[in-house]
Amino acid sequence: MSAPAAPPMRRSRLWDTLRDMAARPSGAIGLMLVVLHLVMALISPWIAPYDYREMNSAVILGGPTAEHLLGTDHLGRDVFSRVLLGGREALVVTGIATPIAMLWGGMLGVLLGLRGGWVDEALMRLVDAFLALPGILPLLVLITVFGSGNEVLTPTLAFFFGIPVIRVARAAAHEVVARDFISAARARGHSPLSIVRREILPNVTDTLLVEGAMRWSWMLLGFSALSFLGFGVAPPMPDWGLMISDARVYMSLAPWGVLGPVIALSSLIIGINLSADALAKTLGLDQGRKAVV
């Protein structure tokens, strides 16, 4: 038995979902962290106390003081200002690439799940082949050849992070396609596109939303890993991954240099994951709990 029927609702579903998410501890913390980071990324150019390029040779690797809250780096730049600004590139690139990855991967996956047959079989082998490549390799190769500008990174990330989405969307669509309302729609004679749009998509969007949130955090991980390895954001632009990589060298002298970007990056990714977790529970997608009666 399902829970007693809810009263007919007229409020927006987005608002309800967000409110339900915020009612859970994980959702409340997660949403707070994500919103905080987004707001910070928007307003940081105006609130950062120093220019991110401004070097002060007087305080190289200086410790935290009233002027420099998080100290200064090996070039004498203010770490606090750089931490405030250090997520902007990552958020812009992943913020554009994630929806694109979800869209193309999701649509292709759903179509393959509905159609089946040899096209599905062949494309899935190709997907398998791409997944078998070492995760970061295609990104690295493309970046070394074409450079690491946002105009290269965004489509590259959108493409490669969309491939695993095909699998997820296809599996979700498979589950829906096996149900009788799809048979009913087929028996009525609806076109495949109409079936995808009206019958399948509404039933897989929840799964894809949660998946999208997870993909976003993974893409952020990938982006900062690239920066960390020196293949991402180019200096002197501040980026958390790059800052950690730079500050690591002087870690024994100035440990505060790593802590700032480490906390910033981790809190964003943990925030996204907690939100994704709460979203899954709110949408009823976690399998652990069943109705009582």
Binding site: R125, A129, A132, P134, R248, D277
Partner: protein, 319 residues
């Protein structure tokens, strides 16, 4: 059953073949080739033409693919771009080192993750579960280079228990890497434990809520017998595939961790090769990693088939 196994095997080969095609085409599509890389600034005119003739680069793409793939099948990946070194030799030590690191992480990680997952699942919603699950989310989400950096800061710099980075050369005997590789192994273990544990936990919860566990309880079976005899065999079956994915990842994809700790494994070699534009080495590593990925997953599939009685006798399915 045999037919199912053959089918899986065939699909595995198809995937590996597709990988080789993707890699070959990918390298073809890149500007420049082995000769431009070797000759660098001298890559023009006669020298370039001669080099291309010498290295057989003027042959049609299909012929070169067949040559390369054929040699790769026998374990011969040719020579690296920058010199005359045999790729198989360079890669050989790196594969061994990566295996060493993976073995370290797996030997601790698999038993521990299964244990933690089962405990969290059986005591779901208690403080043990909340603690373990929160720890898992933490370990899964913070970037591996962040975890590595923090560990180095604490254990190498502040406490001074272990060296921060590995300085042993790639071809040193395996024992020389101890204790240098411990921190690297710890980082990898943490990540893999988090993934496997979460999966095992939800699987245990699902199985413990099933009809057959209720039936066993009402048959009067004591709790721990229910857990070990009725629940775990069913709950741990799906863990095989997650473990396989982790193993595949450990054997090939740990680029970042190897770079952070300066560990001479396959991952760091890949980064170096890309920086040097040493395309033959990149091709070789990619092929090895991809084949491992497919192979490990294939083994997991086959294990699943052998261990799950429901899949084993598929012919009994009723309509």
């Amino acid at each position: 059953m045999i037919q199912l196994l053959l089918r899986r095997l065939a699909l595995g080969f198809v995937t590996v073949w597709l990988v080789s095609v993707i890699i070959f085409l990918g390298v073809e599509a890149l500007p420049g080739d082995a000769c431009t890389a070797v000759l660098e600034r001298d890559a023009h005119g006669e020298a370039l033409a001669k080099c291309r003739v010498d290295m057989g680069l003027n042959a049609p793409a299909l012929a070169r693919y067949v040559d390369w793939a054929g040699a790769a099948l026998t374990g011969d990946f040719g020579v690296s771009a920058n010199g005359q070194d045999s790729i198989s030799q360079i890669v050989g030590y790196r594969v061994r080192n990566s295996l060493l690191l993976a073995a370290g992480a797996l030997s601790v990680g698999i038993p521990l993750s299964l244990l933690l997952g089962v405990v969290a699942g059986l005591w779901r919603d208690t403080w043990v579960d909340i603690l373990f699950s929160a720890g898992a989310i933490f370990a899964m989400t913070i970037p591996e280079f962040v975890a590595a950096t923090i560990l180095i800061l604490i254990f190498a710099i502040w406490l001074g228990w272990v060296p921060a980075i590995v300085l042993t050369p790639a071809d040193a005997p395996p024992l020389d890497f101890f204790p240098e590789f411990v921190l690297a192994a710890v980082v990898l273990t943490m990540i893999m434990i988090a993934h496997i544990m979460r999966m095992v936990r939800s699987s245990v919860i699902e199985v413990m809520a099933s009809d057959y566990i209720q039936m066993a309880t009402l048959k009067g079976v004591p709790y721990w017998q229910i857990v070990f005899r009725h629940a775990l065999p069913n709950a741990l079956l799906p863990a095989i595939n997650v473990i396989a994915l982790t193993v595949a990842w450990l054997l090939g994809g740990v680029v970042v961790v190897e770079v952070v700790f300066n560990y001479p494994g396959l991952g760091r070699l890949l980064i170096d090769a890309i920086s040097d534009r040493d395309l033959p080495v990149v091709q070789a590593i990619t092929m090895i990693v991809a084949a491992t990925y497919v192979g490990v997953n294939l083994v997991a599939d086959i294990l699943g088939l052998v261990l799950n009685p429901r899949l084993r006798s598929h012919h009994m399915s009723r309509g």
